[in-house]
Amino acid sequence: MSGETPVPAAGALPPGGTPTPTPTTAPTSISTATPSDQLLLVLDGFEGPLDMLLALGREQKVDLTRISILQLADQYLSFVAEARKVRLELAADYLVMAAWLAYLKSRLLLPEPEGEEPSGEDMAAALAFQLQRLEAMKEAAAKLFARPRLGVDVHPRGAPEDLDLRRKSVYEVTLFDLLRAYGRQRARKEGGVLRIAPVRLYSLEEAVQRLSALLGHMPDWATLSSFLPSGQGGGQGGGLLTRSALAAHFAATLELAKAGRVELRQEAAFSPLYVRSRRDGEDATGGPSEDPS
């Protein structure tokens, strides 16, 4: 089809030939995508970096056997640069491909070093082959699904008469059924539920109730920690329950102070907190400053 039409100059470039100044000539569908979501949309259409390379390659409008790998590498790298400009997160394999193409480009442009490594030309040829192979499979898939398909285009007998001479067993069970059953079995066994044991936490309501009951028996200032449930009194254990009890009781004293039922006092930041029942007629804020620690 492209036999008669003039081939674009860039496309006519033999692989590994002199570089054309094309770094900014990203393919139109991508370069127009300045907004990140448009770029994302473009990216969404690809099944990985090789698929994207193939799409870029097709834009050269030449047979894949005559594709300019150097130009393709430039197109891909400028796409990745564009994506980074708009701070688009690219999956790792796109970046791996970019690194590989940058390396390939340097191998194609610089004189070949002596060594056993494959030459730049070999690497370019390998990439071209992979693109051809992927394109061949895409075309084959399209041809395959263009065939008349059973249940879509052609139909079997709609009301088969329960007679199957091929079936060797009365029971209908396929390898898929068997493997799926085992997969589920294993999933239940090895995966199952990651269960976190229920945690006992002290609630604010519990603490309020407890403090209210205890305060009647506490005529004078007492440290908050002395109100904590027995066993956690010191609060030294640092266990989740202890810490939650301390937090709940602290919040409870604030609640009760707000309701005017207790008074609070603290010497300095981080020093012990003292609590006592509110006494009528006394200045709540004054407090006995001479109180011992």
Binding site: H155, G158, R167, L179, Y182, R184, V199
Partner: protein
């Protein structure tokens, strides 16, 4: 060649086309089709065409028959004895049986107690019997442990049925996982607190892929 002739031939072709469609519709339908439905697809000549098809198929191994429900193709009644001989109603294997078979296939030789511990439920006697009856499993050697329990293994017929060349061709657990047949990501249930009734984890998520 006159214009009339051309028209006739085109008409004849169109009629053959409709006859072929009628034939295909009757063949592919799971239910008998009534004349009204067919006329909707074929046109008013559906009735005469049905008679034409009936006559065509009358001497053959397949007949076009009309029942109360409508028209349908059926194998010729006189052939019934020869067809019925092989007739067997195929049945779905129970889920327990498929799972037990899968476990024997993957873990063989395996004792009944081991099967039960893997499945987490008791195996009914009928399950192993059924699998043995169908020639998929058979008793293997006794395990040289206390009680000398019987082990179970799969048969050649098992390989044959599932078109496997050898047991080594069964996909491994990793293969199953890669193919999407085994998804064992653990289900993380929320952090529950005893004081909070609603957060008590239920069992709902455990075997989420069950039907």
């Amino acid at each position: 060649m006159s214009i009339k002739e051309v028209t006739d031939s085109a008409e004849a072709e169109a009629r053959i086309g409709r006859l072929r469609l009628l034939e295909a519709l009757l063949f592919a339908s799971a239910e008998p089709l009534d004349e009204e439905t067919l006329a909707g697809r074929i046109g008013p000549e559906a009735g005469s065409m049905l008679e034409e098809l009936r006559a065509h198929y009358a001497p053959r191994g397949v007949n076009l028959v009309r029942t109360g429900a409508g028209w349908s193709f059926r194998t010729a009644v006189d052939l019934a004895p020869e067809l019925r001989r092989e007739e067997e109603v195929s049945r779905k294997l129970s889920r327990a049986a498929i799972e037990t078979l899968a476990i024997i296939a993957y873990h063989q030789p395996v004792t009944r107690a081991e099967i039960e511990s893997i499945r987490g439920v008791a195996t009914s006697k009928g399950t192993l019997d059924l699998l043995m009856e169908h020639g998929w499993v058979r008793p293997g050697r006794r395990r040289e442990t206390p009680g000398r329990p019987l082990t179970w293994i799969t048969t050649d017929h098992f390989l044959d049925h599932f078109a496997l060349e050898s047991l080594r061709d069964l996909p491994s657990v990793d293969d199953l996982r890669a193919a999407g047949l085994l998804d064992s990501r653990p289900v993380l249930l929320g952090l529950g607190a005893v004081g909070d009734d609603s957060a008590v984890p239920g069992d709902g998520g455990a075997g989420g892929d069950d039907e």
